[in-house]
Amino acid sequence: MTAAGPARGGAAKPRWLIRGATIAGSGDGFRVADIAISGESVAAVESGLDHAGATVLDADGLVALPGLVDLHTHLREPGREDAETVETGTAAAALGGYTAVHAMANTDPVADTAGVVEQVWRLGQMAGHCDVQPVGAVTVGLAGTRLAELGTMADSAARVRVFSDDGRCVADPLLMRRALEYVKAFDGVIAQHAQDPRLTEGAQLNEGEMSARLGLAGWPAVAEEAIIARDCLLAAHVGSALHVCHVSTAGSAEIIRWAKAKGWQVTAEVTPHHLLLTDELAAGYDPVFKVNPPLRTDADVTELRRALADGTIDCVATDHAPHPVEAKETEWSEAAFGMTGLETALRVVQHAMVDTGLLDWAGVADRMSVQPARIGRLRGQGVPLTAGAPANITLYDPAAPAEPVIASGASKSRNSPFAGMHLPGRVVATFLRGTPTVLDGKLALSR
């Protein structure tokens, strides 16, 4: 267990029987069965289980997934509690079906010391909506000049394994090489925000027809692809693990496919918004569509979906980036980069990947739970639903009629690019180690 769940303190442990769920495991297709939960674990996954005394949850028509894991979440605490707190961010995560999130390091102060990562880790435990695994900064203050104390963060109570300067690129090739090499000592991984800083000075929008027409400074695909290519070569050279954050271009997917074919330790994520939205949405200059990396083209979206389907891209990560209203109700160039995503990720993935026939529910379980937990070196998460597994479960109704997305949810912020879009599906319940954090689509924990 990475964190003490709310179930741990109770004397009488709740027992649940989830009846008639469609079980989506990794690699085993799916089948309809009952799930019995005893204590913090799955007791049995069989048909026709009859547990007298258990609370029964009718899951007819619902898909049961291992609790979702997000590799890329901005919880904003400490420092920007006006945008999000660990409490509100993890509540949003639970409502989206997540049982664990990785909290990015670009807080204020930056999570570049054991003290800050332990604080975030403890705030996550106190919130209880899901596990919070802090990500440590690669460089002091995200400044890209000196390595942060990576080993001390790894040895801390927060057990940091993923390190990232996300929001900024570790652009210095020597520093990147050293970071990749250094974290081998404790099975760490460097998660790179691939963005050449010189090629993106003042950049606002994907460089293409839209940026030319709108007069917004172009953000070339090559600024991402050149760094990914370099980092793959560096990771191969020193035999280290590289994770590529928020892949956004067709060319990036091609480079990662090539690196994987070489057998190098390269993994990658894609965001829900890059699986669905394009730079055409910037036509009205509404900064709710301003994000880093930028929304790209239809051709990129198509390739990213294909790469996620064939496993070139290992997982979906939200890059949930909450911002207060005033950071978005402004001119495009003044506005903050980022979109919320925790509460809509699964619905977007259903729409973009499942309903299009690119991925089945076993594939969704793999890309949204198993793989991100593996890349994040998370214990007790991303385990397929079998007897003895931790009872981290997401119950999802894919047949729920497509309702327009409501921007205001549990997150403190409302910068959802999906607001008003009709998306299918609904997260019905989320269980964290046997205790429901969400029931009937609402937060189950009272506070």
Partner: protein
Amino acid sequence: MKRHLISAADLSRADAVLILDTAEELAALADRPIKKLPTLRGRTVVNLFYEDSTRTRISFEAAAKRLSADVINFSAKGSSVAKGESLKDTALTLEAMGADAVVIRHGASGAAHRLASWVHGSVLNAGDGTHEHPTQALLDAFTIRRRLRGDGTPGARGAGLDGLRVTIVGDVLHSRVARSNVLLLSTLGAEVTLAAPPTLLPLAVGSWPCAVSYDLDAELPKSDVVMMLRVQQERMGAAYFPSVREYSRRYGLDAARMARLPEHAIVMHPGPMNRGVEIAADVADSVRSTIVEQVANGVTTRMAVLYLLLGGMEFPEVAQ
């Protein structure tokens, strides 16, 4: 016409011709002893200028005043903007003061677009970042039509710019004037060619309704109009071109180059000019140059736009 004028793409050919024809009517006023019309009496026009641009602001101010509108000049300097007020809050303030039209000049592309979503009055884009400057394109079209279609008199009413070959030279990538002119002049039937070093053209320029050339000298003999764009100070030394001297040598319009133009061709510049960089002094001051005329035409064209957006379709005052 739409309620706002934000992009030249908002204008159909009929809209654009109506504006030019209206400007011709209003130009007649300039020859009268009393240059003022009562058309917009009681209406309030706000000039909201976030960038220094004396010439554009004065042009809009003169246009609104000649139509008897009340004009409020709101400049970023010395206003609450300096204290960090957001564009939205400023918009709501102007709204509360009852602005019927807001003329906005802003350094951010899309600022006029955003403003239009927050106010009820008409929004006129007087230049937003590197996006558009539609009234500049209208006054340029008006100038071209007068010079090359109407012998300098209001005889070209109803006409477009069909078949005229316009070459726009210089920093297209960062130019709002170029974007608006490509859209408007092609709507009016002109054949537009952009001549610039590849570094100063958008990568996706192929999707625009114009031709592209890297060779100015090849374009000059077939141009009816050459429009020179200003080279901004901040582009110099940012690797867009090796040196100002080389830029001037390859893309500057000097007397020798001007001599390659057809006899009837005109030379335009939206101002302010860098004499000796994109245009030589003797070219700027030559008889082919319409630079001063463009300034005068700016007032009448902007009067026409304000009139059509705020006034209505009839103007009996100048009908005779």
